[in-house]
Symmetry: C2
Subunit: 255 residues, 2 copies
């Protein structure tokens, strides 16, 4: 049998609003397409729609920037109120410079602007909204997994993905910020290679590869396809949350 | 119509030897599976089989390590002859430490061990071989693209992928080290989002996302599936090689 994977965008997901039942919207979209979920499917969901459903908006008009945010905002050339929102979700600043603010998010992820986003956020034109990451994306993934499993009576995985920049390489790629029902990291160390030697460095950022694959289908210029089903991945019995993808600071040569 | 992508592993690729006609092996594998390539297919090929076909092996027994390699080998806990091979393909050392040697490859990629690999390399047991990256992976991708296009009479893309570690995150992910027939970077800047605002930071590491997706199917513990067809990506008229994914050193805050 030829090994293959299928990625299917769930159609008909409307613009998500705070308080929306995201699980219900996904179930309706899957039904619209005449699909059902199957054992070992992984459902990848864009961070933005999870954040929106969880009401993670901040109206910048309500933000009083601190002195620290004002100073930093001048350095990084951003709205001081936005910088205040970023700092509120950051443990520490990793790098700052003109147009660049890379922080360690309170969840541990090193990312630009603490994942706070201004584009593609719905709102009346006289309000400027920022959208923060979900409060606990692994928990969000677990809730979505549970709801989808209950509806479809099968064992699935859920990945919440976001598009992140990288050092050394240009362009953003999809990575996992939340994960349930699958191992975010796949540890193959100790398995023999084709010639019986032990594989040396083979811990795979499995959920990140799934997140990147789904990003190809989600697109970026609109949010018409924020949910993608990945079908054909092998069964995995071990589960590890997305937070296990974070390299411990003490082992990280680049912070 | 539901948007979807299909990833198909090309079956029956044998263990590749120096001098093998890789294009021919891929064509034979595609035929075995009863497949044909179609317009806009992207064929992702593992770096290892490209390097092997190009004979990029080094027999460590033939290497006389320099004093610099000897000293560095003690620091990083590696075979001095292997370190010599790594240094030969490196522009400079980015970080070194116990079991860690991250360099800027002469091609510009920042990567551990200059991409030199010892695992999964065929050889008699009394020889220790190292396998270097292809000499010019973008050119290798272009050659493979040309051969496959000639055979199938269609317009395809080719990505050569490798599994690389990252700062900040654990686990390796597939990235593109060679690319032809598609834009390695996809620049969406200036396009409006759903609400008419200009997208801010939207340059996508497109070939890297394709590389990561294909890695899911290739696996790591053996080389049974070093070639994957990605089908369903939209037509792209602009082409950019994988070297455009390299962040210019002057704009890189993490070297």
């Amino acid at each position: 049998m030829t090994a293959s994977l299928q990625l299917i965008a769930v159609p008909g997901i409307p613009l998500v609003q705070p308080g929306d039942d995201l699980t219900g919207l996904i179930i309706a979209g899957i039904a619209t397409a005449g699909l059902v979920l199957q054992d070992h499917d992984v459902v990848v969901i864009a961070q933005k729609v999870v954040s929106k459903a969880e009401g993670r908006f901040v109206d910048l008009a309500t933000i009083e920037p601190s002195q620290r945010a004002e100073t930093l905002a001048r350095e990084v050339n951003k709205d001081p109120r936005l910088v205040e929102v970023i700092l509120a979700d950051a443990r520490r600043i990793v790098r700052s410079g003109r147009d660049v603010l890379i922080v360690e998010h309170r969840l541990g992820f090193v990312m630009a602007n603490a994942g706070v986003d201004q584009s593609n956020v719905a709102g009346p034109h006289d309000r400027q909204l920022a959208l923060m990451l979900p409060r606990d994306p692994d928990a969000s993934a677990a809730r979505l997994q549970e709801g989808l499993q209950r509806r479809f009576g099968c064992r699935i995985g859920v990945v919440i993905n976001d598009s992140l920049g990288r050092p050394w390489r240009l362009g953003t790629v999809g990575v996992a910020i939340g994960c349930a029902g699958l191992p975010a990291l796949l540890d193959l160390r100790g398995q023999p290679d084709l010639f019986g030697r032990k594989l040396q460095v083979t811990v795979i950022g499995y959920a990140d590869e799934i997140a990147a694959a789904a990003s190809l289908l989600m697109g970026q210029a609109d949010e018409a396809r924020p949910v993608v089903i990945v079908r054909g991945l092998p069964r995995q019995d071990r589960c590890l949350p997305a937070r296990s993808l974070i390299r411990p600071a003490g082992e990280d040569l680049f912070r």
